[in-house]
């Protein structure tokens, strides 16, 4: 409790979890609310802001601005990047999160589509039978992994590839082994829809852990 984190989220599911976030001291700014924020300078003064599903924010801004769409959209996207305080803009490069692109760089078992279809190639996406398959979900926040225990090799590969502040990886049990499904720069809100009771445990771990004790300083994480 007592944290002062602003979560700027582009997820279409996140508003269902506003109360849960508030319980953890996290203030939510959804994509719909972003354009009505009255002063950027006041936001600059925030202790910290975390980007969640930034591609969703970009899409929302792009579709919301009728006039001079590209300029307005790119201005707000660029501002969001500056807000996050990260030294990388990869969270805004959708092609980096393509499943086909990520798989080429991973050396681990990969989930194969057999009679199921993904909703999109760009993350995040959810399988139609999302609710019935056994699934592992791990979330990295500020360099520390929480949630299910996914394979070390997968974790190391993702640490090498992506430096987003928030990162989720999902694995699915297929033919008796855990297989990589997808990764994206944000939290797995879609997975917890209709399972709101389960999300508190994850959020409490993410946002209330004493970060000074568990966070690995950036200078010790040259590839992360």
């Amino acid at each position: 409790m007592g944290t002062n984190i602003f979560l700027v989220s582009g997820s279409s599911y996140v508003t269902a979890f506003r109360w849960h976030l508030k319980q953890c001291g996290v203030h939510l700014i959804s994509a719909e609310e972003l354009m009505s924020v009255s002063s950027l300078r006041s936001l600059d003064a925030l202790s910290s802001a975390v980007l969640d599903c930034p591609l969703g924010i970009s899409n929302h801004v792009r579709s919301a601005c009728e006039q001079d769409r590209n300029y307005i959209a790119s201005s707000w996207s660029a501002w969001m990047q500056s807000l996050s305080g990260q030294d990388s803009w990869q969270a805004f490069c959708p092609w980096l999160w393509l499943r086909s692109h990520v798989i080429k760089q991973l050396s681990c078992p990969v989930f194969e589509y057999k009679g199921v279809k993904a909703s999109s190639e760009i993350m995040p996406f959810y399988l139609i039978e999302n609710q019935v398959r056994k699934r592992q979900i791990a979330v990295r926040y500020q360099g520390v992994w929480h949630g299910d225990q996914v394979s070390d090799r997968l974790v190391h590969s993702l640490d090498r590839l992506f430096c987003s502040q928030l990162l989720t990886v999902e694995c699915v049990l297929q033919d008796g082994r855990w297989c990589f499904l997808q990764t994206y720069p944000g939290l797995p809100w879609g997975h917890y829809v209709k399972k709101e009771d389960e999300v508190m445990h994850l959020l409490a771990n993410l946002f209330q852990a004493p970060k000074a004790n568990v966070t690995i300083a950036r200078r010790f994480r040259p590839f992360c």
Binding site: S58, Y71, S75, W76, S77, Q81, W95, L98, E121
Partner: protein
């Protein structure tokens, strides 16, 4: 073989391909033809019926400035191309992730500040712009006229804009590609020399210390080719911006010497 991939609106790609094709096997691909006349699969590409394997491509010049995000989700050719550019080939000038730096100027300024003096900068939105000795510019890659707010007639910013301290002095544009570099100095009466009719462009012998810092910046962000904008203010070098997809042809045309193109050719020569 060299591949130059450019958006249809890009002026640099066709001119670059025209020069390179005189010396080496080179092919120009227009991004808008992808999925229609140009196809990228996992092994190679087909350009208007001609097949090429990726193993034969030594260098790709990437001049795609607008990536069609909607097509990226469904078009396998675009997906294969972006993967190829990011990780599939060793030499890409520059990789798409690097070019994205143009889109996020505040973030880029933070990195530049590790190597150069940068102007005091703040972001503004929903605020009146009545500060003097400041210049206003776009926060993203979208081209905007840079100038004093009062000269531009901008009194109020709704969308996020960059507001920077104004420095008087002469401009220097430095282009670095690999180990090769060249620079021009620009004398202009207005703040934005691109819109000054009498701006003068001349070759400039850039100090090695500045070049080395530029190379260090490029190494940090993974850029192969970069155009740096400086203002020299009382012998102090102020870095305004780094362009990861530099429109270098403009500077060659203005200085009436193919200075940058020659350095690009010199750099390419090292691979053949």
């Amino acid at each position: 073989m060299i591949l130059v991939i450019a958006s249809r609106a890009d002026l640099v790609g066709p001119l670059l391909a025209e020069v390179l094709i005189k010396k080496w096997p080179c092919r120009l691909v227009i991004a808008e033809d992808i999925g229609h006349h140009v196809f990228f699969d996992t092994e190679g590409l087909i350009v208007f019926g001609d097949k090429f394997v990726y193993g034969d491509i030594k260098i790709i010049f990437n001049r795609i400035l607008n990536i069609p995000f909607t097509q990226l989700g469904s078009c396998r050719n675009w997906q294969n191309l972006m993967s190829l550019l990011e990780t599939g080939l060793p030499i890409v000038v520059n990789r798409p992730e690097v070019v994205m730096g143009n889109f996020f100027k505040p973030c880029q300024m933070r990195i530049l500040a590790k190597f150069f003096h940068v102007p005091k900068t703040f972001l503004a939105s929903y605020v009146p712009l009545n500060v003097k000795k400041m210049v206003v510019k776009s926060i993203s890659s979208v081209r905007s006229v840079v100038g004093h707010a009062e000269d531009l007639g901008v009194t109020y910013a709704v969308e996020p804009v960059l507001v920077q301290r104004f420095y008087a002095g002469f401009h220097v544009r430095l282009h670095v590609i690999g180990e090769f570099y060249t620079a021009v100095c620009i004398y202009a009466k207005g703040v934005d020399y691109r819109y000054c009719q009498n701006a003068q462009f001349d070759f400039f012998n850039c100090p090695l210390a500045v070049v080395n810092k530029a190379k260090a910046f490029m190494k940090m962000v993974g850029a192969v080719f970069c155009g740096f904008d400086f203002i020299v203010h009382h012998r102090r070098w102020i870095c305004l911006e780094a362009n990861m997809a530099p429109g270098f042809v403009y500077f060659d045309q203005q200085s009436k010497k193919p200075l940058v193109m020659q350095e690009v050719v010199n750099w390419v020569q090292t691979f053949f």
